[in-house]
């Protein structure tokens, strides 16, 4: 009788331990996958240079980020900016050299993008609009614009996040202008003539966000969302506000 009771106890204990181990393994895998979803992404931490008074009359630390957008790794290497791009995918366009941006909280962030790629028609014309920036505009080669023609957008840089109660919302959409045909960087250079796009937005409190391109620039799988659009990096990344 005593041995039967002991056997029952062992069985029950074994069952409880097995269930607990199962839960721990599944939870551990989930947490690790989540934590490393953008592992090894080349990171740029914003540089703060003084303060600036925004249109809302408040003064903010002025933070700066610089990045690029290239048609393929060869193009980005030629511009000396290949970091994200993978030699195994010689035809994939990519933002670079950084895809993870670390920004200060409650700051006025100015982003400069050097863009070199062609463009086609957006699936959703909404993303041809500049949204979420200071003044609702971006600056393209010295000219302020609030939108582009939906059929002439190269890619978009669209920051968004989960509407949780623990972090402020952040939504920024920047349509990138396509490069002109035939132009060159410099006289004699084989590189296409690009654009310089600058825009500013104001961060809220601390939070984790993602960005991605809203132009389906992947392969023909899944309406253009295969390949580069289905892989981390390249056309997607993370924004961390600290």
């Amino acid at each position: 009788m005593a041995s039967t009771t002991a056997s029952k106890s062992k069985t029950a204990l074994g069952a409880v331990v097995a269930i607990a181990l199962g839960i721990a393994v599944v939870a551990g895998v989930g947490v690790e996958l989540h934590a490393h979803s953008y592992l090894n992404a080349p990171t740029e931490t914003a540089t703060i240079n003084g303060t600036i008074t925004a249109p809302d009359g408040k003064s903010y630390p002025h933070a700066f980020i610089t990045d690029g957008l290239y048609a393929d790794p060869i193009d980005s290497k030629a511009h000396g900016a290949c970091a994200t791009c993978d030699g195994g995918h010689p035809t994939w366009p990519s933002y670079g050299p950084f895809t993870h941006f670390v920004l200060p909280a409650h700051a006025y962030v100015t982003v400069t993008m050097h863009v070199y790629d062609g463009g086609e028609k957006l699936n959703s014309p909404y993303f041809a609009n500049v949204v979420g920036t200071v003044g609702g505009t971006m600056n393209v080669d010295g000219k302020d614009v609030a939108s582009l023609a939906p059929d002439g957008v190269q890619h978009t840089f669209t920051i968004h996040g989960l509407p949780t109660e623990t972090q402020d919302p952040l939504f920024v959409n920047i349509p990138m202008p396509k490069t002109g045909d035939g132009g060159q960087d410099q006289a004699g250079s084989p590189l296409p003539k690009g654009h310089v796009v600058t825009f500013s937005f104001i961060t809220g409190g601390k939070g984790n966000y993602v960005w991605n391109c809203e132009y389906p620039c992947g392969d023909t799988t899944y309406q253009g969302f295969g390949a580069v659009m289905g892989s981390q990096g390249y056309m997607s990344g993370k924004v961390t506000v600290l």
């Binding site: 609009n129 669209t158 991605n212 809203e214 309406q223 969302f225």
Partner: protein, 267 residues
């Protein structure tokens, strides 16, 4: 001297059920079944409502009512299944000795089959009638208010939502709605299939490419609601969320005016 064959010595169906119910494991299962059923009823009636999203429309209230009552209705089934599993676990054979011979099988017992079938059919009919009645009520109410409905064109695209208000001439990343105003969502996808899910409004419909799906609701509570994609749609599906706001009519009109002042595009 009377002659009895083997059939006369077999217990009657009633005797078999009586003997069955007197078994220790059966009575334990019975008690456990009642206990787990009670637990599920309590969960369904008093705990479940706290786990559900806020109710911001009549449609969402209907959803919650269905979830709660279907939980209560299914509580006896879940309770009995869990009780059998628990009893089997408690009394499973242990040790090195071989298990005893299994008892004689319980053959078909007419009344049990009839009762079980009738109860199952009753549950199914209740679910069907309740669901169809609820859907029909929503459709009737929505159609009655469709003449003065606020039309919102909802576009899902990997991995964001955008909202176009054709009568107001504005587009937005966030979904703002006036309170107590019927709303007609015209939902479409710009690429792959998505599912438009303004959670607290009790609406969830597919967003298909090249095909518009119409869904209607009337928000009746001020506040913030979540707009999610409920169809796995690619790399950043988990981030395909945005915030929605049910506002007073004055606040909504003010928001529309602000959006128009900034060129018709509002965050």
């Amino acid at each position: 001297m009377a002659h009895h064959d083997d059939q006369d010595l077999l217990p009657t169906p009633g005797q078999r059920v009586g003997t069955f119910l007197k078994r220790k494991d059966v009575s334990q299962t019975f008690v456990l079944g009642i206990f787990f059923t009670a637990v599920f009823v309590v969960l369904g009636l008093w705990v479940y409502p706290h786990w559900m999203p806020n109710v911001m429309s009549k449609e969402m209230q209907g959803n919650e009512d269905i979830m709660i009552w279907f939980t209560v209705i299914s509580a006896p089934i879940a309770g009995v299944v869990l009780a059998i599993a628990m009893e089997s676990f408690i009394n499973m054979h242990r040790g090195d000795t071989p298990p005893p011979e299994d008892g004689p099988g319980i053959k078909t017992h007419g009344p049990v089959v009839v009762i079980w079938s009738a109860v199952s059919v009753l549950f199914t009919i209740v679910a069907i009638v309740w669901g169809i009645t609820e859907m029909n009520t929503w459709s009737s109410d929505a159609l009655a208010g469709s003449n003065n409905a606020l039309v919102v064109d909802v576009t899902g695209s990997q991995w964001n939502w955008s909202f176009n208000y054709p009568a107001q001439g504005i587009t937005s990343h966030e979904l703002n709605l006036p309170i107590n105003q019927p709303v007609e969502f015209r939902v479409i996808s710009a690429d792959v299939n998505h599912s438009f899910w303004p959670v607290q409004l009790g609406v969830k419909v597919d967003a298909n490419r090249l095909s518009t799906t119409i869904a209607r609701t009337t928000p009746d509570k001020l506040g913030v609601f979540d707009v999610k994609c409920a169809e796995l749609c690619g790399l950043n599906h988990a981030y395909m969320e945005t915030a929605g706001h049910v506002e007073s009519v004055a606040d909504f009109n003010n928001w529309v005016s602000q959006a128009k002042a900034t060129g018709g595009t509002q965050q």
